[in-house]
Subunit: 233 residues, 2 copies
C-alpha cells in the first residue's frame, strides 16, 4: 500500500491465488506499482475463503495449484454464485486446457510467460466492465465507494450525513490538493450559501466522524488557503 494519496481514483483490488511464492511476490509488487492493490492467497482453499470474505474486482488464478487446482476453484466460485471476473494464469498453452478453463467459468486466459503490461491491461479491462464497482475514491486509509455509497476508514465503516458525504467527496477528489472554503461552499450549495457559519459546522461534524476516532488526523486547514485531506499537514 502506497503511503501517499493516490492520484488514481480508479484503483482495482485483485486477489492473486498462486502457490509459487516468488512469482506471487514479483506480480504483487509490479501490480502495486501500477496502482492495483493486490491480496495474495497461496492455496485454493485460502483463496476461496478470502473471496467469500472480501470484495475483489478481479481474481488472478493460477491453474496449477497443489490440492485444489484452478479449474476446481473457479467452478466452486461460480457454483456459489460469485460473479467476480476470473483471469486464469497458466503455463499450459493447449487448446483443450483453454477450453476447459472457459468451461469452468473463467473470463480470460493468459499463458505464461506473459508481459506484465498485458496482464495489467487485461485486469483493467475485466475490472472496468463492472464499471459500477470500480469507482472508488481513496486517500490514506479512507476509502469511498461511490456506487455503494459507503465510506470506510481503516476498514471501519463511517456514518455520514448527505452533506458530510458531499464535503468528504470534494476533499477526496481534490486530495492531496487544497480546496478553498469558497469552493467547498460552492460544491455544497452552489450560489445560495446559507450562512457563513454553516461550512465550519459541517467541517466540525465531518472531523468528528473521520478524524477524532482515529489516531492520525487527515483533515487539515491551511489558514488563509483552505482545507486539505491528506496524511501530512
Amino acid at each position: 500500500m502506497a503511503a501517499e494519496c493516490r492520484e488514481q481514483y480508479l484503483m482495482p483490488i485483485v486477489l492473486l491465488i498462486e502457490d509459487d511464492l516468488d512469482l506471487a511476490a514479483t506480480l504483487s509488487d509490479y501490480l502495486d506499482l501500477e496502482g492495483i492493490q493486490c491480496d495474495h492467497a497461496s492455496s485454493g482453499v485460502a483463496g476461496l475463503t478470502l473471496v467469500e470474505r472480501a470484495h475483489y474486482d478481479v481474481i488472478l488464478l493460477d491453474l496449477n495449484l497443489p490440492r485444489l487446482d484452478g479449474l476446481e476453484v473457479c467452478q466452486r466460485m461460480r457454483a456459489a454464485g460469485m460473479e467476480t471476473p476470473v483471469l486464469m494464469l497458466t503455463a499450459r498453452d493447449g487448446l483443450d486446457a483453454k477450453l476447459a478453463g472457459f468451461r469452468a467459468g473463467t473470463d480470460d486466459y493468459l499463458v505464461k510467460p506473459f508481459a506484465l503490461q498485458e496482464l495489467v491491461a487485461r485486469i483493467q479491462a475485466l475490472a472496468g466492465r463492472r464499471s459500477g464497482q470500480a469507482q472508488r475514491l481513496g486517500c490514506a486509509d479512507v476509502e469511498m465507494n461511490l456506487p455503494e455509497r459507503t465510506v470506510t476508514r481503516g476498514g471501519q465503516p463511517l456514518r455520514l450525513s448527505p452533506t458530510g458525504w458531499r464535503l468528504l467527496e470534494t476533499l477526496l477528489r481534490a486530495s492531496p490538493g487544497v480546496v478553498t472554503r469558497a469552493t467547498l461552499e460552492a460544491a455544497l450549495w452552489g450560489d445560495e450559501v446559507p450562512d457563513s457559519n454553516s461550512l465550519k459546522v459541517h467541517l466540525y461534524h465531518l472531523r468528528q466522524v473521520v478524524d477524532v476516532p482515529f489516531a492520525l488526523p487527515l483533515i487539515h486547514t491551511l489558514p488563509g488557503h483552505g482545507i486539505t485531506l491528506r496524511e501530512a499537514p
Copy 2:
C-alpha cells in the same frame, strides 16, 4: 446452479466487423453452427451505424479495416458511451499493438490464427458476464428466477405483487449499488409518477415480505442517497 445457468444461456448475438469477406463468411457460418447469431459489417462506418441501431452482446472487431481502423471504431464507440464488450481480432501479435487495443477500450484481444473453439469460448465469456444474469438474479439468500417468475429467500418462496416484483428486480439489478428514489420511481412508472407517497408505501410492503419474516434485513435506506439491497447497510 450457476454453472448450469451459464450453459443454459443461449444464442448470444454478435456483430462481426471485418472487411475480408471470405474470412467473415467462414466465421459467420461457424458461429451460427455453434448457436451464436452473427451479423456482419464490412467497414468501420457500417459497423458503427449497426451498433447504434441494434443490440449486440459482443462485437468482433478486426483491427485492420480500410479507412476507419479497429482502434478508431472502438474509441468512437466508447466515446459515445456504448458499453458493449469488444473482442479485437488481429494478425498483429506485438505487445504494443495489444496495449493500444486495450487502451482504445477493447475487452479482449485474440491473435490470428486462432482456434475457432477458443473464439467461441471467449465470446461466451464476454456475453455471459453481461447477460448471464438475464435468467436469474440474486443477492445474499434472495433468488429471483425471471423466466419462471419466482422469488425465494433462503429457499422459501415469496409472494410479490407486480409492483413489488419490479421494485425488487430493480434493486437486485443494482445490488450492491444504491438506487435513488427517483430512479426507482422511473423504473416503476416512467414519467407519470402517481404520488410522492406511493413509492414509500410500496417499499414498506416489500420489506414486509422480504425482510420482516427473516432475521437479517436486506433492504436498507441510506438517507439522502437512496435504497440498496445487500447484507451490510
